[in-house]
Assembly symmetry: C2
Homo-oligomer: 301 residues x 2
Amino acid sequence: MSAAPDADITVIGNTGDDIHLFGLKVCPDLDTVMYTLGGGIHEEQGWGRAGETFAVKEELAAYGVGPEWFGLGDRDFATHIVRTQMLGAGYPLSAVTEALCARWQPGVRLLPMTDDRVETHVLIDDPEGEGRKAVHFQEYWVRLRASVPAHAVVPVGADQAKPAPGVLEAIADADVVLFPPSNPVVSVGTILAVPGVREAIADAGVPVVGLSPIVGDAPVRGMADKVLTAVGVESTADAVAKHYGSGLLDGWLVDTVDAGVVEEVEAAGIRCRAIPLMMTDLKATAAMAAEALTLAEEVRG
Amino acid sequence: MSAAPDADITVIGNTGDDIHLFGLKVCPDLDTVMYTLGGGIHEEQGWGRAGETFAVKEELAAYGVGPEWFGLGDRDFATHIVRTQMLGAGYPLSAVTEALCARWQPGVRLLPMTDDRVETHVLIDDPEGEGRKAVHFQEYWVRLRASVPAHAVVPVGADQAKPAPGVLEAIADADVVLFPPSNPVVSVGTILAVPGVREAIADAGVPVVGLSPIVGDAPVRGMADKVLTAVGVESTADAVAKHYGSGLLDGWLVDTVDAGVVEEVEAAGIRCRAIPLMMTDLKATAAMAAEALTLAEEVRG
């Protein structure tokens, strides 16, 4: 937003890692965007609310009700309570998200990729036994800390999902489409798995520019390398670009430490620039966004 | 329990003042019994949990989600979250209550009067306009502090409700049935409105003894006089006894300040004693229970 203060920005959020906990609908990705842009995020942690207390979680544990591995704070609970109540009253997730954002004023239009239920499951080696089993992404990611081999990532329900109201329209009306340096498999990949989204991006006829989530052969944040392995993609800045492919991606930003891959990415038909890609502060992040827009204009030619 | 430490006690709780708040099922009477006997009650307040914080409530208010007049604390929220999740999973309220009591160990068997939905509504003078309207009991009691004239009290759904599993059996197996000094209209009265309960008490063939909730022409606690007026009963210790009637009640305890009504109650066919009836501490409360059991034995003859 700092890079283009007058722009109308729509953020399409992944809902594949949504989960029902304690009977409440939790949307980690939507909430992280909402809290971050709305000024309520726990900055160091990168998710959840600042200044949290944990009375509800402690009480649930006293009742023996789990899971205990998902750290919901009291303030965060309120968001999930409001969301669950509205969903129960019949509002689609997109309308609920809009209502929640009315408080947070994130400065962008935040849309869930779909109002339909999609749940990313991960096929893992069963940590408690022989063989493999499929677990909810959050169980793999948060409970197991991605510490067991993952063999497949399946966005269950995505093939039947419809893009939420406004998603295809936002893409069709866009001047530029940006892929953030998010997880290419379980975040961006899940959004692209909703039928119609990938096609809409390709048909929009506007520059599509991505920022590499891999810097120096390791994910900037999180454990993206684990799920990249599961889908057979190397954890390198160029492999991720080629995973998206030139059919989708027009431009790609890699970090200066990965300047060596620029030529290879360009050989794959994707314009590539090496710039500092660490979101150390707001200024650095705005500079990255500005570079992405510059690259988009280059592509547009 | 102190008055009869070896007794198996079943408490049948009113569920007519249950309410859905923020999409969660709240059972004030069941929880008050559970928290009180389980050692978690806010002693001075007489409801809710001790040591509460209010982060969730503050956040809900920040979302503009009400009602704000019902003071749920963070700890209390956890109880309602567990209950709502279990109900959503298909467990009846009686099973949910048993599960919650597994933590609290109240020392009695706590049963909801019914697993079916019953909601006590109160017909009031509309505080914001002309005419009358029906509101949920909690709105009348908590929001309006019973400050507007009430014309009728209707336990909506009670006529279709079935006693919860164990209720009729507990009454049939009882040696004594006690009516606590609770609200005779919206607490005890609602339980009696569930078809089969009143008959089971009459058919049990055991002493039925009540404790007056009115001391010196005023309710001991709360605003019972308001709803007594609504059903055409005077707020006196003898009027409440006659409201229950000799067909139901065998014995009645009034406070010493109401010793003057003993004769009149006995003339109505209900054995009556005047004893100190203020539950000032555990010892005084145990003495009241002991007197009730003594009166029951007198009645049994």
